[in-house]
């Protein structure tokens, strides 16, 4: 039996926007792939690069960090710090040879349930042809 590869995605969603956005997608009965494991964080600015590396090490095929649009942060400027920090992280991951598609950042507001499903669909579509992530994953 030749099953299609299903990527595992870890999504760090900020509590005030993206998490509410994913909630909206859920209560509106919008369909999107079930490959994503959402983790609610208080702010995209609280996502330490270590979370991302750790997720990739512990078996994630892709990581998504999603927060409020610039200017809409519940903590005024947390997402602005995240943007700066994660730009560096993204480049660094590419530098050590990870495929650029494996790390994604997006802005999803609480009203953008549809956008959330589109982001997930797009990410899954991009990750499927890549196959399992082995470059940073632990063996056991």
């Amino acid at each position: 039996m030749n099953e299609e590869f299903e990527p595992r995605i870890v999504a760090f969603l900020c509590k005030w926007c993206s998490s509410a956005g994913s909630d909206l997608a859920g209560v509106s009965r919008m369909e999107y792939p079930s490959n994503v494991t959402p983790i609610q964080v208080m702010c995209s600015g609280s996502v330490s690069p270590l979370y991302i590396f750790s997720a990739l090490n512990k078996g994630a095929d892709g990581v998504l960090v999603s927060g409020c649009h610039p200017g809409d942060c519940h903590y005024i400027k947390g997402n602005m710090y995240a943007r700066r920090r994660l730009a560096l992280v993204k480049n660094l991951l590419e530098f050590i040879g990870l495929e650029p598609q494996r790390f994604r950042m997006s802005w999803v507001s609480a009203a953008e349930g549809l956008k959330y499903t589109l982001v997930i669909k797009d990410l899954v579509k991009e990750l499927k042809p890549l196959g399992p992530q082995t470059k940073m994953r632990r063996k056991q």
């Binding site: 690069p49 090490n57 602005m80 700066r84 560096l88 660094l92 632990r138």
Partner: protein, 343 residues
């Protein structure tokens, strides 16, 4: 060429007048191509101070250690510490000042200019001299090194033996100093990121293979962390040695003490460690390349830092350690920071 006598004179004056608590400089190490740090408390030993292309260490690390020691003293000596710094090290002082880790009154910076050359790379030197017995290396006229061997003096062009980071150095003259020794001749490198560029032009697969080969060698001795003047956290995310889970460990305790990286034989975690180390130094690393020098497994850890330095400049126009008054890179932002990677 920066005059060692001028440095000694300055050191003697400071120590005799009792203006400083300790003076940290370089002395001759166990062999002619090695220097070691020296801590002077009185003026009688200033003659041991040296300044030559073997003074590779970044002494700013000792400011971090000194701060810890001072904090334990019951009646701390309030006088500053005098520190001999090269151009690159002076940027490290700037970063520590910028992060308010040290106070400006606590350090007296004895800046020394590398002028047209820099530090010699011991391996390159050995290669250039082939099997000749090597006695001393000095700064020569212009951009040359004057090497004394058993068979007489040889003048080597700096390009041949200069350490890799010195070829890409942007601060050959200290950017912060109370006393400056040597000329203020600025030297700008033609290609400040020459070492990263060949890496970037490789394909993702080649890069992954390269780094896998490098990181698989890592023995997690954490020497790169110990030597770094910026790695001053009281508790490091990778430390979990003094934490053991027993039957009595509560769930709460476990949750508070997340072990991100186990000190096990799992090679994949070496990547996590090195990436974390690099990211924690983003916008702070001043490229003294001490991490690479102390690495017992010859892992090119400096590459990661250099890559982040390059990105910080390209994306945010930020250069670490040049201005102590600026906010640090990752604790500041601009409204128009690039966000084309966000979809």
């Amino acid at each position: 060429m920066a005059n060692i006598e001028a440095l000694r004179q300055e050191a003697r004056k400071l120590l005799e007048e009792g203006k400083v608590r300790t003076l940290i400089g370089y002395e001759r190490g166990p062999s002619p191509w090695v220097s070691s740090p020296v801590f002077l408390k009185s003026a009688d030993k200033v003659e041991t101070l040296i300044w030559d292309p073997t003074c590779v260490q970044n002494l700013v690390r000792f400011l971090v250690d000194d701060k810890r020691r001072q904090a334990k003293e019951r009646e701390p000596d309030k006088r500053p510490v005098a520190l001999v710094v090269k151009g690159c090290d002076s940027r490290a002082v700037n970063v520590l000042l910028q992060e308010k880790f040290i106070d400006r009154s606590q350090v007296l910076v004895l800046g020394i200019s590398c002028e047209k050359t820099g530090m010699a790379d011991a391996k390159k030197l050995a290669k250039a001299l082939k099997s000749k017995k090597f006695l001393a290396v000095e700064f020569g006229e212009g951009d040359t090194f004057l090497v004394t061997t058993a068979e007489g003096k040889v003048s080597l062009p700096a390009d041949q033996v200069l350490a890799e980071r010195c070829r890409e150095c942007k601060a050959n003259v200290p950017v912060i100093s109370d006393v400056l020794i040597g000329d203020k001749t600025k030297r700008t490198p033609a290609k400040p990121f020459a070492s990263v560029e060949p890496m970037e032009s490789l394909s993702a697969e080649e890069r992954a293979n390269f780094w896998k080969e490098q990181f698989d060698r890592c023995i997690r001795c954490y020497a790169c962390r110990s030597v770094c003047p910026m790695c001053y956290c009281e508790e490091c995310v990778v430390d979990s040695i003094n934490y053991a889970v027993t039957a009595e460990t509560s769930a709460e305790e476990k949750a508070q003490k997340i072990r991100w990286i186990e000190r096990s034989s799992e090679k994949s975690e070496n990547i996590v460690y090195h990436l974390v180390r690099a990211v924690h130094l983003a916008g702070r690393c001043i490229d003294c390349a001490e991490c690479e020098r102390v690495c017992p497994m010859d892992i090119p850890v400096r590459f990661l830092n250099k890559k982040l330095e390059k990105d910080a400049l390209a994306l945010f126009g930020y250069e670490p350690g040049l201005e102590a008054g600026l906010p640090p890179l990752v604790s500041s932002f601009k409204d128009d920071d690039p966000q084309d990677f966000i979809r």
